[in-house]
């Protein structure tokens, strides 16, 4: 009783805020037209300056013309927007440059709000407080659905939807939609089907890039024979382990089963899960194949798991590390050069075809306004993605992005693999699952796979534990 009345107050509060904001905006636009005109002049100047800079690089002359045309944005002088995302460090800085370009083109003021994981709970408290950010970048399809179910998310308008359908393959549009309505613009993607390796270690061992799981095992043995531990596993963070499992499962059991398991239509006690876990145990179960042994791996966080494979000259702690394209950021912290010292090969095929597991962050509108719609349109455009792609450490599922903008050959290769997968990719399974099962440290799938890494013989036990946790999380 009490709770419901509180809720009522909350929503009224929210509405009041919204109206005030709208009123404020009209007021400002009325009075500051002259200033806006001035700003537009400055804007034009700075844009020209930008063009000049780009021309120096050579082939961007045409791109510049294309950029100006590729997306039309309304004039939004005096409006202000808030964007929430969990990004930190360089990633945040690069994203702010994209926002700055939006500010330049429209005249709106955009503020970046740093959020914490899990962002859906962060937004929950913001919505309850009556002042949600206008746009939020949600990393899980499950979170988008949750936001829609709770009435927080607003559908994309015609402009944004048009931009989305022009630049994104059907698969990416679908995972951003709820009940057929587009809500999310997948601004950023991750290719999680990659294995990075230390080129020096492979040269020393005479090993080659494997194409199949059996070849991967052979390669691992060769690396091991040369005196280097083959794999580095960041087991302190459960999500690296779920990504291992997902790649094996997608390739071995096929996309249909993958989708079913993601929706919990088949149980985790299914024989296909058993096969995948048994396959995984082929690597996890060999004490000498994992740097530090299972106990050591469980205390290795993800950044360390990457850096330890690329430091130590001829004797790194491990020769290979599995994870997505974002591992580059961590490789950048070492002296290894991506492309020469640190190379990459796609996750080998366990079954018939090699898996492409991806992740991504989708921009979702929480406060519907012309400015918020314009920002969503901007983030769906190739222009926005190109800016951040050029800065590195970023992958866009936007097919309108010319792969030549990526700063190095490796990044380009990864991006092309992702875009060319078309609709054949599958989204990270644990990100589709309810948070309690697929996204909480020390719980659910994360914890069970950590236990499995410690004790890879107990396939059946792991399956039962997974099923019990999944049943609880999906059921409630």
């Amino acid at each position: 009783m009490r709770t419901s009345s509180t809720k009522g107050t909350r929503s009224t509060l929210g509405r009041t805020t919204r109206t005030t904001r709208a009123a404020g905006i009209t007021g400002i636009t009325g009075t500051t037209r002259a200033a806006a005109a001035l700003a537009a002049g400055v804007l034009a100047l700075s844009l020209t300056a930008c063009g000049g800079g780009d021309d120096g690089k050579g082939d961007d002359g045409k791109g510049d013309g294309k950029q100006a045309d590729s997306v039309t944005l309304p004039k939004l002088d005096g409006e202000s927007l808030e964007v929430a995302a969990v990004w930190t460090g360089t990633e945040q800085e690069n994203f702010k440059k994209v926002l700055a370009e939006f500010e330049k083109r429209t005249g709106a003021k955009v503020t970046f709000v740093p959020a914490q994981d899990p962002i859906i709970n962060f937004l929950g408290s913001k919505v309850a407080g009556g002042a949600p950010p206008d746009v939020a970048l949600l990393p899980q399809p499950g979170a988008i659905k949750q936001a829609v179910d709770k009435g927080w998310a607003k559908p994309l308008g015609a402009e944004a939807a048009k931009e989305l359908s022009e630049n994104y393959s059907q698969g990416w549009q679908d995972i951003g939609s709820v009940d057929g309505k587009p809500y999310g613009v997948y601004y950023k993607a991750a290719n999680k089907s990659l294995i990075w390796y230390n080129a020096q270690v492979f040269a020393n061992a005479g090993a080659e890039e494997p194409k199949t799981w059996d070849e991967l095992l052979t390669t691992a043995q060769t690396v091991y024979d040369s005196g280097v531990t083959p794999f580095s596993v960041g087991g302190a963070e459960g999500w690296t382990l779920t990504d291992w499992f997902e790649n094996v499962y997608l390739s071995q059991a096929g996309p249909e089963k993958y989708d079913q398991l993601a929706k919990h239509e088949i149980k985790w006690t299914d024989p296909s899960v058993k096969d995948a876990l048994t396959t995984l145990a082929g690597i996890w179960g060999k004490k000498d194949y994992v740097a530090g042994g299972p106990a050591g791996a469980l205390q290795t966080d993800f950044p360390t798991s990457v850096t330890q494979a690329f430091t130590g000259g001829d004797q790194p702690k491990a020769g290979m590390v599995f994870e997505g394209d974002f591992a580059q950021v961590n490789i950048g912290e070492t002296e290894a050069e991506v492309g020469t010292d640190a190379k990459v090969f796609p996750f080998p095929a366990v079954g018939d075809t090699a898996p492409v597991v991806s992740g991504g962050d989708a921009a979702v509108i929480l406060e519907d306004s012309k400015a918020a719609q314009a920002l969503a349109t901007w983030l769906a455009s190739p222009d926005a993605a190109s800016i951040q792609a050029e800065l590195g450490g970023f992958l866009s599922p936007n097919s309108g992005v010319d792969s030549s903008v990526y700063p190095n050959a490796v990044q380009k290769k990864i991006a092309e693999a992702l875009v060319s997968a078309g609709d054949d990719f599958r989204f990270d399974m644990s990100d589709q699952a309810p948070q309690a099962f697929g996204g909480t440290p020390g719980k659910g799938e994360w914890k069970t796979l950590q236990d499995f890494l410690k004790n890879p013989e107990d396939v059946a036990g792991a399956q039962e534990k997974l099923e019990a946790d999944a049943a609880a999380a999906y059921g409630g």
Binding site: P118, N121, G206, V228, D288, Q299, D314, K443
Partner: protein
């Protein structure tokens, strides 16, 4: 709110007797009650909004389900005692409350008593107290590094491994193992044994792989094939792998490959060692005639792994490890309070005891500690309250994989409330924590009152 304060203005429930009613409008100091209430109002409003209301709301919320729409009765409290995560948290909290305050107080007492007697006592106190100036978060990050598994990074393991290695040395070939198509097979326990028995006059090859060239012992020379000898068994054990070239001829000694100096070889017949030899720099060895028909074994101590230290942040040690970091922070606090109490202990009593022939230990045990008992109680109780709400240290130090094992109630509250979106259960944990703190608080308040009366 206003009506509540008005109702609460009569702080003395008995009230003054009726006959002296006219006088009751003014208190001893002559201020009117309404004025007093007016002055109290801001504090009451703040207390009500910031303390009483949140407590009340948590209490109510703890009886509602996850979404907050339906009354759930005692379901959330039932979950408190059935959920595995919360049970571990509860168990760990007990460990914390028992050990952390007592160890910190005991150390504080020792420091306080000892620093009284040294000339540089103040400097020492300053150093011990220093960790208090650091936030829990920073201390957590420091100890995350201290307990790092890698002995090159974590000082705890560096010390431990250093001590261990002075007593037990590791071997030269920790990761050596048979390559593909090897005449050797694992014999259990880390040893390797030949598949076929050897015969007199034969030369045996015992190729292994997996030792990185820069980790080879200094005495390693280019491996040489053994020469057959009559009445003896000769052979070579070497690294059948060249950097960048692979195995060359598997099982054959190639010119770029190195021998395994110091590798022990045992000849085993029916489970008994009949002869043994040690390989030379080029990997060659010779066994006497007794080895005829035996299997050759490379015993496990050739391959002993270097000791890697303790798993400080593994499931079993993580709670003691985090408690250790807490003690590091709070022993200084205990020391300062106890030292202050110690300054108030009458010297005559100590002198009298010494004159009566008591040893220093007896003086400490029978005079100092009893006199300090009230101070010790304050310190222990304060630390207990502090320990019940411990969160940051556990949250930061315990890695994700053992956070479950290091769990405490405050952390579980956070995880339930903000990570798994279970505000009902989180509220129930909060109420439960409040119930745990109340007796300790009550004890503290009562003791404080007694002190004032004295």
């Amino acid at each position: 709110m206003a009506s509540a304060t008005a109702a609460g203005t009569g702080p003395s429930p008995e009230g003054p007797p009726v006959p002296v009613a006219p006088k009751s409008r003014r208190s001893v100091t002559g201020t009117r009650r309404t004025v007093a209430a007016l002055f109290l109002l801001p504090a009451l409003v703040l207390l009500g909004a910031l303390v009483v209301y949140p407590i009340g709301y948590s209490l109510i919320r703890s009886f509602y389900d996850q979404s907050g729409d339906a009354f759930a009765g005692f379901d959330n409290y039932e979950a408190l005692f059935t959920d595995d995560g919360i049970r571990t948290a509860l168990k760990n909290n007990v460990v914390w409350v028992v050990f952390a305050p007592t160890v910190a107080t005991a150390l504080g007492l020792i420091f306080a008593v000892l620093t009284e007697r040294v000339r540089w006592g103040t400097a020492f106190k300053l150093v011990v107290f220093m960790p208090m100036a650091i936030s829990m978060l920073a201390a957590g990050i420091i100890f995350r590094l201290v307990y790092d598994q890698d002995p090159d990074k974590g000082v705890a393991n560096a010390v431990w491994v250093g001590v261990h290695d002075t007593f037990a040395e590791s071997s030269a070939f920790p990761k050596a193992h048979p390559g593909r198509q090897s005449p050797l097979e694992p014999a259990g326990g880390g040893a390797f044994v030949t598949k076929q028995p050897v015969a007199l006059g034969e030369t045996v090859v015992l190729p292994l792989v997996g030792v990185a060239p820069d980790r080879m012992p200094d005495g390693a020379k280019q491996a040489a094939p053994a020469e057959p000898e009559d009445g003896r068994i000769t052979g070579t054990t070497w690294q059948d792998f060249t950097r960048g070239k692979g195995s060359g001829t598997p099982g054959g000694v190639d010119s770029t490959e190195l021998g395994y100096p110091g590798m022990r070889i045992e000849a085993v017949k029916d489970g008994e060692v009949v002869a043994s030899a040690t390989a030379a720099g080029d990997g060659t060895f010779t066994l006497p005639a007794e080895a005829d028909g035996a299997l050759l074994r490379l015993p496990a101590d050739n391959f002993k792994e270097p000791y890697n230290g303790l798993d400080w942040l593994g499931p079993s040690l993580v709670t003691p490890a985090v408690i250790g970091s807490y003690v590091w922070m709070w022993a200084g606090f205990a020391m300062v309070l106890i030292a202050a109490g110690l300054a108030g202990v009458p010297r005559e009593l100590l002198e009298a005891a010494r004159v009566d022939g008591a040893s220093e230990w007896q003086v400490f045990r029978r005079v100092t500690v009893p006199l300090l008992a009230p101070v010790l109680a304050v310190v222990v109780v304060t630390l207990m309250i502090n320990v019940l709400k411990v969160f940051d240290l556990v949250f930061i130090i315990a890695p994700g994989s053992s956070q479950d094992d290091a769990n405490v109630l405050a952390l579980e509250l956070y995880r339930k409330g903000f990570a798994s979106d279970q505000p009902g259960i989180a509220s129930a944990i909060a109420v439960f924590l409040l119930l745990l703190v109340i007796p300790v608080m009550w004890f503290n308040v009562r003791r404080l009152r007694r002190e004032v009366r004295r």
